[in-house]
């Protein structure tokens, strides 16, 4: 009797648990993805391409990740670091997103990553390259699907030293990303025996380059390494060619330099840059990705679309490891850590600090495309300085 009573009780309890469990499974049949990206301002195109890439992967999986429908909460962060904390907090506390995807601007991403770490919310950074994100400010909850500023620049430094280049002048915008790029380059280049003749910088986003071009012409180094991006990069490359330096002193930089080749006229042709993605990789994976993207969005994908796509892949890997339950955060995190991401750029894993361990390509601008030349650094891992994870 007593025993039977106990069994019945257990059965009822069990049934209750199962139904409530099912109930919650039904309620949480969706997973909430917070997209915190720039949709206006200078970086609007980047935000849109990341979003497109992310959604493309989800669509390829029938609109679901690990069996759960994906529900998006989309916020324009305007690339404004001053509002980043507030926006991130709202996504986490009010909208209760399961994962935060953001952002392009490093200042925004750093502020949002702080919120993610404090509230124990999973975050995947689909672009912002500040070393700190997976360095001094690293967190178990924060991953990155893109790269660190250090990676492409270090690879370029190594490659130039290997080619026997001796004297280099560096020039960059004086803000964290520019400084980190030059530091990465200097580290790789001097390790290989090269010498930095002069390290020059100008305030962001100043684009009056003429005084520096004059200085470069006077110093006559073997090569010049610069960090510029967006419109500034297009202007620098054009000015460099117009000053007659293109023919005599080769110019190098991380891939952002050759992003807007179309805006440079012919001045970009032949420019060599390093990045974790390139045109014409011609792998089965990349071709499939590019065809599908072009069909869906009537535009060619770029590195940002790849980073968005891979952010979705990373989250998918984590969800699968947690049997589709976003609430099992530890399992999700372990899943991403252990995953090998089959990216269009070539597969990569994640470092202890949660940054991609990936191949860096040397690319050369040919007919307006950043065509791949070779892998200059295979499986390059960011040193994650200051990260104690």
């Amino acid at each position: 009797m007593d025993k039977h009573y106990k069994i019945v009780c257990n059965l009822i309890l069990g049934a209750a648990l199962v139904t409530t469990g099912m109930g919650s499974a039904l309620a949480q049949d969706k997973v909430k993805v917070g997209l915190m990206l720039p949709y206006t301002g200078t970086f609007a195109a980047l935000g849109n391409n990341i979003t497109n890439g992310f959604k493309q992967y989800v669509e390829e999986n029938g609109g679901k990740l690990a069996g759960r429908e994906v529900h998006y909460v989309v916020v324009d962060d305007e690339s404004n670091p001053a509002r980043a904390t507030e926006i991130a907090r709202r996504l986490v506390t009010r909208d209760k997103v399961d994962v935060l995807i953001g952002s392009v601007h490093s200042g925004v991403a750093l502020a949002a990553a702080r919120v993610a770490a404090n509230t124990k919310t999973l975050m995947i950074v689909p672009n912002a390259g500040a070393n700190e994100i997976t360095g001094a400010q690293c967190s178990p909850y924060v991953f990155r699907s893109s790269f660190s500023a250090w990676q492409p620049s270090y690879a370029m430094g190594e490659a130039l030293a290997k080619r026997g280049v001796k004297n280099v002048v560096t020039l960059a915008w004086k803000y964290s990303f520019g400084t980190e790029s030059v530091e990465g380059f200097t580290e790789g280049f001097t390790k290989g025996g090269g010498k930095i003749v002069k390290d020059m910088s100008l305030p962001f986003p100043n684009v009056e380059f003429q005084p520096f071009l004059t200085e470069i012409a006077a110093l006559k180094p073997d090569a010049v390494f610069v960090f510029f991006a967006g419109a500034g990069a297009a202007k620098f490359v054009s000015d460099y060619a117009a000053a007659g330096l293109k023919g005599s002193i080769p110019l190098y930089g991380p891939g952002f330099l050759s992003e807007d080749v179309a805006a440079m006229g012919g001045a970009g042709e032949g420019l060599q840059t390093t990045l974790h993605y390139a045109d014409g990789l011609n792998t089965e994976r990349d071709n499939a990705f590019r065809t599908a993207y072009a069909a869906a969005y009537k535009a060619q994908p770029d590195v940002y679309a790849v980073q968005g796509y891979d952010a979705a892949q990373m989250y998918h890997a984590g969800l699968k490891a947690a049997n589709g339950d976003p609430a099992k955060l530890d399992a999700v995190i372990d899943g991403i850590r252990a995953a090998t991401i089959d990216s269009p750029r070539g597969s990569f894993t994640l470092s202890k600090a949660h940054n991609p361990v990936q191949d860096i390509y040397l690319r050369e601008v040919k007919d307006g495309k950043n065509a791949v030349v070779e892998v200059v650094s295979a499986g390059l891992e960011d040193p994650a300085r200051g990260c104690s994870m």
Partner: protein, 288 residues
């Protein structure tokens, strides 16, 4: 720095200073003479650059694009003055700031909707697409020198119009005492409309001329807005010559600052402004 480099840097300074003058000249008119704080000045520059891009793509020639763009900018400026700015002359500066700040947002959004957010390049006209060899490695683009020539011509023309013509006299008089000019039977509203349209056209022209060397990109107007105000303030509000002198000072300070004092190159222009204003609180040349 050897002597050849020094000379090239002087050339850089002059060329940059003249370009800055071109950008700031429209603001000198609107802010200096009409007394309107026009934060949308940078947007007119942006609109000019995008006009150059769109019209050059359509017509295949930057010269033609400028020839079409200037009348368009004049009409646009006159319409804007009629619809919005004419209501603001008697209001205080805060309301002018609010309106013109709103215009920045509207123009940027329109630009995004109409042309998109990509960076574009504008081709230099073929007959100016050459370089002059200065040293064995360094050459100087002819187009930059051509812009400098245009800037000098404009500076002289502006000075002439304001100082030596009847229109200029009426403009200056309107600036000194609006109601007295009205009482004398001069249509001050029409004069202000002309001046404002001219200011817009100058900013747009600066954008069109700068488009091939600066490329065309979102928010490009915000880059020139502050430096334009700096130049107008250093030069003395309302003075065309003052703006020219100030633009050249800024050009030299910026160029040599970048080379000689790289650590503080970001603030050197503002240091110069502070020193000038301590020395002459009204600017270098007040009303001239």
């Amino acid at each position: 720095m050897d002597f050849a480099s020094f000379l090239i840097q002087v050339l850089n300074s002059l060329q940059y200073g003249l370009l800055l003058f071109l950008v700031a000249s429209g603001l000198t008119l609107v802010f200096g003479i009409m007394g309107i704080i026009n934060l949308a000045h940078g947007s007119f520059y942006m609109i000019g650059a995008y006009l150059a891009f769109v019209l050059t793509s359509a017509t295949g020639s930057l010269v033609l694009a400028i020839a079409l763009g200037i009348p368009l900018a004049l009409i646009f400026g006159a319409l804007l003055e009629w619809a919005l700015f004419s209501h603001l002359y008697k209001r205080d500066h805060l309301e002018q700031v609010l309106l013109t700040y709103g215009l920045i947002l509207i123009f940027e959004q329109l630009r995004s909707l109409l042309v998109g957010d990509d960076v574009h390049g504008v081709a230099i006209p073929a007959f100016l697409d050459a370089s002059i060899q200065l040293t064995e490695v360094m050459s100087y683009p002819v187009y930059r020198l051509a812009i400098s020539v245009v800037c000098i011509v404009l500076a002289v023309a502006l000075y002439y119009v304001i100082q030596r013509t009847r229109l200029g006299m009426m403009i200056r008089a309107g600036n000194d005492d609006r109601s007295m000019v009205e009482a004398l039977g001069i249509n001050i509203n029409m004069i202000y409309r002309v001046v404002f349209a001219l200011g817009v056209a100058l900013a747009a022209l600066a954008g069109m001329l700068a488009a091939p060397i600066s490329s065309v990109f979102p928010n490009m107007g915000s880059h020139v807005l502050i430096i334009s105000f700096v130049i107008v303030v250093i030069g003395g509000i309302g003075s065309v010559w003052g703006a020219l002198v100030a633009a050249l000072i800024v050009g030299f300070a910026d160029t040599f600052g970048k080379v000689l004092l790289p650590e503080i190159s970001g603030m050197i222009v503002y240091l110069v402004m502070a020193v000038v204003l301590l020395w002459r609180p009204e600017g270098i040349l007040k009303k001239g």
